[in-house]
């Protein structure tokens, strides 16, 4: 591998950009394809599938090896609430990097979230430092439109692989009206998981956390719910 290519790959990884190293194992020739780059030719389909699965492997020709690098999935929770206290350690066990954001300093304390990063700032400020991306899930859990709406919108626009929002159907109906009034397309709004989580009849905060995490894992492994329903 050329050293420049290794540096380019490490830069993509450090910047949380997905990339695939394509190696011809016979000639030793290599190139790097970043997600979103137009990949033409016979490998286009294989590359797209590899970006989705995140798994490295040999292409069908048995000669071309695809080393797939996708960023570790993150879970951003808006609201340092009871559900996030249960969801943070569960998410970490399942391999996600959790992050909690809540401008209410009484909630957003490190004591309530052992070992989980907590940012006690408004989401628009906090997300400047931690930009959302396609390998991030976002769960809005405060019930408060002043806190939840902005990050929901940002997550949909950043193509986060999962966007969930807590609240009853009625609460969500009002939220949809606000987001539409703010100019968001119906298609984007439909991607919101609400009422939040897989329907397992969850009641306690910990049970709701399980439901939310189940839905996040399904979105990561099987694609968004809207796509799964259509399949």
């Amino acid at each position: 591998m050329k050293f420049e290519l290794l540096q380019q790959l490490n830069r993509a990884r450090a910047g949380r950009r997905a990339a695939i190293l394509v190696t011809d194992t016979q000639s030793g020739e290599q190139r790097l394809i970043e997600a979103g780059e137009a990949a033409a030719g016979p490998l286009a389909e294989a590359l797209a599938a590899r970006f989705r699965s995140g798994r490295s492997g040999m292409a069908e020709d048995g000669v071309t090896f695809l080393t797939v690098h996708v960023p570790p999935p993150r879970l951003v929770m808006i609201g340092a609430v009871h559900i996030s206290q249960a969801l943070s350690p569960m998410a970490r066990l399942a391999g996600f990097d959790p992050l909690v954001i809540d401008p209410r300093t009484a909630f957003a304390t490190p004591e309530r979230f052992a070992g989980v990063p907590v940012i006690a700032e408004w989401p628009d400020e906090a997300l400047k430092e931690q930009p959302l991306d396609a390998y991030t899930a976002l769960a809005a859990l405060t019930h408060d439109p002043k806190i939840d709406d902005m990050p929901i919108r940002a997550a949909l626009e950043a193509n986060c692989f999962y966007v969930g929002a807590l609240g009853s159907r009625k609460t969500h109906g009002k939220r949809v009206e606000r987001l539409m009034a703010a100019g968001l397309s119906q298609e984007l709004i439909k991607a919101i998981d609400a009422p939040i989580g897989t329907d397992i009849g969850a009641q306690s905060p910990a049970e709701i956390a399980v439901a939310v995490l189940a839905e996040i894992i399904a979105a990561l492994r099987k694609g968004p719910a809207s796509v799964r329903a259509a399949a």
Partner: protein
């Protein structure tokens, strides 16, 4: 906080180590598991980085065939030509180096130049 976390992660990362070693002027080879059959201990895409003195980081098999891969890496570093290695129970060498789990793996070894 996250900046520190990310750089912490990258510092035990095989590809980051390969870059650092090369940057420091060391001759480096990178080994990658490209195919596995049966109960191979490390997933496809796993890396081992080796320098000309036989120092290494990472793993391609959890210890079973690393010794053999490091030996081959020295040749790859010298010649500059990549090489495909295959280890499995049916293979006499595999018994020698001890891939006793019953799996089979293919490892691609290339020089970082």
């Amino acid at each position: 906080m996250n900046q520190a976390q990310v750089s912490g992660e990258m510092s035990d990362d095989v590809l980051a180590i390969a870059e650092k070693w090369r940057q420091a002027g060391r001759e480096v080879a990178l080994a990658t598991v490209v195919e596995t059959w049966g109960s191979a201990p490390r997933a496809t895409g796993s890396h081992l980085v080796i320098d000309a003195d036989g120092n290494f980081e990472g793993s391609v098999s959890g210890g079973c065939v690393e010794g053999a891969v490091i030996g081959e890496a020295a040749d790859v570093i010298e010649s500059g030509a990549p090489r495909m290695l295959e280890f499995g129970v049916a293979d006499e060498i595999a018994w020698e180096v001890g891939l006793s789990c019953g799996g089979r793996i293919k490892v691609y070894v290339e020089k970082v130049a």
